[in-house]
């Protein structure tokens, strides 16, 4: 289907080019006589070209938009996406209507009122009623969009509910690390001065008891149907937590942890069935230019049924179990000697 459209498109471009070169010839023979837009024949041709282009353009645009819908409308897996997408489609419908109308008017006027020698334009340059009308109508329509936008924005950016699952997600050149609070439900403190190649996010295991049961899985898991609050950190430059299926995007900024919360609404398995793609996985990408590997910061996120999630959670073992040396001060450089105002 796409290739058919491409074929049609190139044929049309070809036809237009042929038409143009005819005009070219025509102008060549006329080139002694300057036209300056005053040659009725050329004018007619240009006006017709605009009309053809409008029709062909709209047909191509809408037929592609229709047949490729599946490719650009992403499947949704978070609760708040329903309000985003309703507002999106309201705005989009409005845009398309205005887009078509104004272009039809633009090119129809251009065609209808093309130059004819001996005719004079209508000397007319003000109409206050009309002007007030086309100031007020956009204003009213806009206030609807603004009102809806503001109320959804407030809902989505409101503080996360108390019972939300908390996960820390850290971005660094060029990977992600997630950290869960463990059994105590409290994330331990972290400080960039404690970062090293093992303790990649700088958790203060030694001095913060809450840190000692924190675990850092390879793959991020979230429960379906429960609000989750992602605490986003960056360890070197700005990155951005971007998870298109969940309508989630927030910068990760060094020195300024940010938060995004949402409620997953479909498990990975449900999505696999829906898309008939057994290999499907939710992906997190980085969406702020961060260096050479920016395009490759992929992280997998799995959404489980709540019971599965509980089970997975309890199976994880604290990070410190594999790295007990991080509990004793002498095993490594003494962090306390560093002046760190975050501690």
């Amino acid at each position: 289907m796409t290739s058919l459209l491409l074929l049609i498109a190139s044929l049309i471009v070809f036809a237009i080019a042929a038409y143009l070169f005819k005009i070219g010839n025509l102008l060549d023979t006329l080139s002694q006589k300057p036209t300056e837009g005053k040659d009725p024949k050329t004018n007619h041709q240009q006006a017709v070209l605009f009309l053809i282009l409008t029709v062909v353009g709209f047909v191509l645009f809408f037929s592609y938009a229709y047949q490729a819908a599946e490719k650009y409308i992403l499947p949704q897996a978070a609760v708040h996406l329903s309000s985003i997408s309703s507002l999106f489609w309201i705005t989009m419908t409005l845009i398309l209507v205005v887009f078509v109308l104004t272009h039809v008017v633009l090119f129809f006027f251009a065609y209808k009122y093309r130059y004819r020698p001996g005719r004079k334009a209508y000397f007319h340059h003000d109409n206050h009623k009309l002007e007030i009308l086309w100031t007020l109508v956009p204003a009213v329509v806009l206030s609807v969009l603004i009102f809806k936008g503001l109320s959804y924005w407030q809902e989505i950016t409101a503080p996360a509910p108390e019972n939300a699952e908390v996960v820390e997600l850290s971005a660094y050149q060029f990977a992600w690390a997630s950290r869960y609070p463990g059994k105590d439900g409290k994330l331990g403190r972290a400080d960039f001065k404690l970062i090293d190649s093992e303790n990649r996010t700088g958790v203060d295991f030694r001095r913060d008891e809450n840190a000692q049961d924190d675990f850092m899985p390879r793959v991020m898991h979230l429960p379906k149907g429960k609000p989750v609050k992602i605490r986003i950190r960056a360890l070197d430059v700005i990155h951005s937590f971007y998870a298109p299926h969940f309508g989630a995007q927030t910068y990760a900024i060094p020195g300024m942890p940010t938060v995004f919360w949402f409620t997953p609404s479909k498990t990975t398995n449900e999505m696999r069935e829906e898309l008939k793609d057994p290999d499907f996985n939710y992906e997190i990408a980085c969406n702020k230019i961060c260096g050479r590997g920016h395009f490759s910061m992929r992280y997998i996120l799995v959404v489980d049924e709540p019971e599965e999630y509980e089970e997975w959670y309890t199976q994880q073992s604290p990070w410190i179990q594999k790295h007990p040396e991080y509990l004793s001060p002498k095993s490594r450089e003494e962090p306390l000697s560093q002046k760190s105002n975050n501690l």
Partner: protein, 590 residues
């Protein structure tokens, strides 16, 4: 001012190089801008190849680009980022700020106002040479070992502050900052001059309401530049401190290359606020002159007064004002306080009102006109089309809720290329096609012009309409390749199509370049007023005013507004501004 021609001796150097004549300076800006456009568009052709055909073997480009191309014949990922950074910087600042506003403000302000030159020819000359130096520095940065600036044209720190983070943040970034400082000096010198000239050197009878809309738009763009460019300069200064003197304005809590840096307490968001305080008005500094040029050209070539003259001025003013207070719509998802997001969303969407007023006024101007599809008119109509298509998608992006999913995707790339890239470039081209006779005394070849228009108009839509779909599917911008994600493995066909369309569009510009340089010497000699327009620049005795002073005799006096086209009390369908009111008209106005 004396009304005789200046007679001091002229040699090649002070006539063509260190000239203080506004027309020569306009040409200098134009030609430098055109050269930059070739470089900037050439870069886009190269990285579009990478995006459309990632498998393509580019080894043949190795002699030209050296280590930009890896051993395997691939574009290096870091250089991809360098290329988009330089492409963005070049197109926004060097082509569309200096090339568009610099050219036409300089050419038209004195000529359309009836002044013998700018208020200060000397400052004007300095403005060009500051731009020239800035160009040289930017050009030099393309050749430094680790590459030019690569952190995006928005140069967000810490990425732009730390050479450890990306090669281009070393010497390349230093040169970028230095070049931009010179560029800002150039904009400020030019802007002060434009404003002073418009305020003080209008000829007798040229009241503000009789000024052509071009001049209004140059005035507002100059004021915007004067207010906002200094803020970019301060942002850049603080960045220079952070980079070179160990301060922590923008840097905090950074562990990079195996080392925790000493910086604490700085805020990367501070930079973003400062940057966009210029960055957003900048798109209007680029857009306003284009809109002004379109207003003038549409009125002249439809042989009709511009519709809603006062509303056009009012909406220009409102757009300019609002453009200063919407910057943080670029930061909806930056983690800044959501309340700020609400305020900026409200203000941003308000811009749609004056913008739609302008659009409807353009359409109403065409209504019952007598439209001549001359080359400038075609480009002006194309501009209106782009302004509509690109402006409308702003309704989606300006809405903070929708920006959560659209931010930094290809949807944004498509949006700003159409509304800023395409519309302003068409403003530049409209201006060139309309005032070429005034600049060079000759006409451009029409046949080549028509070919150029259709290739560009169709080509630009063919490039950027598909990118909207790519963006809706969530494809992030500034990605070197889409091979690492299952999410982004569709649309290879569309990306290839876009690349082909971009290359064709690029080739279409070769037609224009040939026409532009060829017609300078071999074009048909232009009549003094080829478009039968009303404004004063066409009252100089020949199409190309050769001398300092513009008019050999007295400066014409102005008796009417510039839009008396197809006036019912006159036989001709245009009445230039210097023609006194006829007895009948006087009767009517009394």
């Amino acid at each position: 001012m004396s009304n005789t021609q200046h007679t001091h001796s002229e040699n090649f150097l002070n006539r063509y190089v260190f000239s203080t004549d506004h027309k020569t300076i306009a040409k200098q800006f134009l030609i430098t801008g055109v050269l930059w456009a070739i470089i900037g568009l050439g870069m886009s052709a190269l990285f579009r190849l990478q995006l459309g055909y990632p498998e393509l073997d580019l080894s043949c480009l190795k002699p030209l680009f050296g280590s930009y191309i890896t051993e395997g014949g691939k574009l290096d990922s870091e250089y991809y980022l360098a290329l988009i950074t330089m492409h963005g910087t070049i197109m926004v600042f060097f082509v569309l700020t200096a090339g568009l506003s610099g050219t036409f403000s300089n050419l038209l302000i004195p000529l359309q106002l009836g002044a013998r030159d700018m208020a200060s020819g000397f400052l004007n000359m300095l403005s060009y040479w500051a731009f020239f130096l800035s160009s040289v520095v930017m050009l030099a940065s393309l050749f430094v070992e680790l590459g030019p600036a690569s952190a995006g044209w928005t140069i967000y720190p810490p990425l732009s502050a730390l050479p450890q983070a990306i090669g281009g943040s070393g010497l390349g970034m230093t040169l970028w900052l230095f070049s931009m400082a010179l560029f800002i000096a150039s904009v400020l010198l030019g802007g002060i001059n434009y404003i002073t000239t418009i305020m003080n050197l209008r000829t007798k009878g040229m009241s503000f309401m009789r000024m052509p809309l071009t001049i209004w738009s140059f005035l507002l763009a100059a004021i915007l530049g004067l207010i906002t460019f200094p803020v970019l300069l301060s942002a850049a200064l603080l960045l220079i401190f952070d980079r070179s003197f160990g301060t922590s304005f923008y840097l905090s809590d950074i562990y990079i290359a195996g080392e925790a840096l000493h910086h604490t307490g700085g805020s990367p968001l501070l930079f973003q606020h400062l940057f966009w305080f210029l960055g957003h008005p900048e798109v209007y500094i680029v857009m306003l002159p284009a809109l002004g040029i379109a207003s003038e050209v549409i009125s002249v070539h439809s042989r009709k007064p511009i519709f809603g003259h006062k509303a056009m001025i009012g909406s220009l003013m409102l757009i300019s004002f609002l453009s200063i207070v919407v910057w943080a719509h670029h930061m909806f998802v930056s983690g800044m306080n959501p309340f700020l997001g609400s305020v900026f969303m409200l203000l941003t969407l308000l811009i749609a009102i004056p913008s739609s007023v302008k659009t409807f006024n353009y359409l109403a101007t065409l209504w019952r006109g007598n439209i001549r599809f001359s080359l400038p008119m075609l480009f002006a109509i194309g501009l209106v089309s782009f302004f509509i298509s690109g402006g409308l998608t702003g309704l989606l992006l300006g809405n903070a809720v929708l920006d959560i999913v659209l931010h930094d995707t290809y949807f944004v790339v498509a949006h700003f290329h159409i509304v800023m890239g395409a519309a302003s470039s068409f403003g530049l081209l409209t201006g060139i096609y309309h005032w070429y006779p005034k600049l060079f005394g000759r006409m451009l070849n029409e046949r080549l012009g028509y070919i150029h228009f259709w290739i560009s108009f169709i080509g630009i839509y063919a490039v950027f309409i598909p990118l909207h779909f790519v963006g809706l599917a969530g494809f992030p911008r500034r990605y070197y390749a889409f091979t690492n994600f299952d999410l982004f493995d569709s649309f290879t066909d569309l990306n290839a199509l876009v690349t082909i369309a971009a290359l064709v569009t690029f080739l279409g510009q070769v037609v224009f370049l040939f026409n532009f340089f060829h017609s300078m010497f071999y074009g048909r000699k232009a009549p003094p007023n080829p478009w039968e327009a009303n404004t004063l620049e066409w009252t100089t005795p020949s199409a190309k005013p050769l001398s300092h002073g513009n008019w050999p005799g007295d400066i014409p006096e102005v008796h009417r507004w510039p839009y008396d086209y197809s006036h019912p009390l006159h036989k001709e369908d245009f009445v230039p501004q210097h023609i006194p009111l006829s007895p009948k008209e006087k009767e009517k106005s009394e």
